[in-house]
Symmetry: C2
Subunit: 209 residues, 2 copies
Amino acid sequence: MFPTPRLDFFFELASPYAALCALRIEDVAGRAGVRVRWRPFLLGPIFKAQGLAETPMRVYPLRGAYMMHDVPRRARRYGFTLSVPPDFPRNPLLAARVAVVALSQGWGEDFSRALYRAEFQEGRDIGQAGEVARVVAAMKRPAEAVLAAAQAPEVKAALRAETEAASAAGIFGAPSFLVEGELFWGDDRLEDALDWARGRRDRRAEASP
Amino acid sequence: MFPTPRLDFFFELASPYAALCALRIEDVAGRAGVRVRWRPFLLGPIFKAQGLAETPMRVYPLRGAYMMHDVPRRARRYGFTLSVPPDFPRNPLLAARVAVVALSQGWGEDFSRALYRAEFQEGRDIGQAGEVARVVAAMKRPAEAVLAAAQAPEVKAALRAETEAASAAGIFGAPSFLVEGELFWGDDRLEDALDWARGRRDRRAEASP
């Protein structure tokens, strides 16, 4: 028996490219036989450490204009719809903390997908606590308790630790994938990362007696 | 009869991602039945217009470090080798002017591929006239005459016009693809751009009696 190959999926809840990936990753990874570990992090501190005052999509308007057009086009290619609200980006802090709580309870993947849908399909401002609460409540979870839990010091610390892990791995954008230290950046590299994860498994299998 | 679908390939001779694309595009486009028009341009003026003093790969070292690792990895996936010299980027100005001359004479695609190989396989500094001359001479073309022709005012103007066309199309990086005004950025979007070009043809075919 060989361990199932695993891929770490670093996602940022304000990122439309991470949304594009979140809505398809389980499907694609499932077919590839690769297990996905969802790891929420914040890009803000990583941008700031590079001297970027905010997302490059705002600092470089051509890049941002391309994204506004590219994200819906790419989503159509995958068979769903997404659009980037004109006042992008939303503040992802509370939502990311809720994702930490939800992942620890086994419903974080569903929560993250539902949050992305609210943000990039329904155009809701998930920077508002009320909107995050709506998403939680729609999943039949106790919104008030969950949002309170999200403010616990250990949850805040856990999210900071994930952002530090992302930074230590050389991550500078979202989504990013880590496979045993090998870094891939961008939704359009998911397939490369999965192939890498499967190649690793195959090499292990070959090397064993 | 319907016209062969066409894709405009905007390439920058200092860009390793454009090199990655140049070395495979005719193959992939040929299989897709799409004709490629090679259009050299310069990223320098486009970066400057966005307030970038130089390539984002240097302004943002994490991005640059990723590229140094990603380009060879991606090239291996395509079945060839490429690496980015540590003193990236080279000055592409003379080489781009030679590409304009060569494209007008029907050997510009071959020249551009040969130049990319010299730059990213052999590690040569194609910012030096002597290295550009070597590439031209290796193609059995009169290097001295070609380099002189590359300095003609109309060649300089033609390259400036291509850079202005790129800028007008919203291009901010290389490679970029234009299909009837539809912009795609990045080597990893070549397949999307080709599909788009073919879809256009199919729609035209469906619309006709």
